[in-house]
Symmetry: C2
Subunit: 135 residues, 2 copies
DNA sequence: CCTTGAAGCTCTAGTGGCTAGAGATTGTAG
DNA sequence: CTACAATCTCTAGCCACTAGAGCTTCAAGG
């Protein structure tokens, strides 16, 4: 098995420039090359890139993925560290959700109170200007 | 009233380099200068910068804020456009919350099923590798 | 008036995770 | 053998800042 970067992109759903980017930041190993210096990949890289792609879809950042890849290469090791990374990430997501929910509420509150009149009496503008939502 | 950039920063909670950045991208007007070319601000700029800060805290991007500022300067106009920007933003936030909730669930599911054994049998790694969560 | 030191100035570069484009080369089907 | 799609490297851009270098100015104390 020896495929081009375009084929790898098709197989994994990761764009060609992104694959080269992942190589540059060390998520993918330096690949084999043809005589004309074009990249050629094997089955390992397909698996690895799928791993990367799904990790990104779940919101892991590149540094975390690097660590997860390293850990996944040591199969007999305890998965405590893996779980720790994942739990940390869940906590991170919870914080982000919390923030978004709060600011959604504030926005919706000012929208609800807007009388659909002029900008002058607009609650949305008022809230933005005063920095709190007193009436 | 004529204050330095540091004082403006203290009054609004916006960092000095960020104020200069906002000037550069056109959120703040070109300020008055002393003979030695240091910036001097007035009450208008304090209000405007508070508006910008709170808009950013609510997650509006700079392009939206530019528009909101322009609209807020036309007080007798209908606030329909203001509300439209805010509603669009709420929808945006809802999409982001939805995505985060979904991927949090997937992560938590694989964490729950992890037997705390070796990396080899780790569900978290498995889910990342296969791209779905079949058992 | 003079010194000192904090605060200000401009400019460049870096962050993360890509994406876009220029301009050259290579692979491959007909 | 030719044509053309795919690939190559390199640079720059995105967003909203942040950090740092190396310089100048302001304001208070002596």
């Amino acid at each position: 098995m020896s495929i081009s970067i375009g084929e790898l992109a098709r197989l994994t759903g990761v764009k060609v420039p992104t694959i080269r980017y992942y190589e540059g930041v060390g998520l993918l190993p330096t690949p084999a090359r043809t005589e004309g210096r074009q990249r050629r990949f094997g089955a390992d890289e397909v698996a690895r890139l799928n791993f990367i792609r799904h990790s990104r879809e779940l919101g892991f950042e590149v540094a975390d993925i690097r660590e997860l890849l390293t850990l996944s290469e040591q199969p007999e090791r305890s998965c405590g560290e893996v779980d720790a990374i994942a739990r940390r990430h869940v906590e991170n997501i919870d914080r982000r959700i919390g923030r978004l929910v709060a600011l959604r509420a504030e926005l919706q509150r000012s929208l609800d109170r807007c009388a659909r009149g002029t900008v002058e009496e607009c609650r949305v503008i008022e809230v933005l200007g005063y920095g709190d939502d007193r009436v």
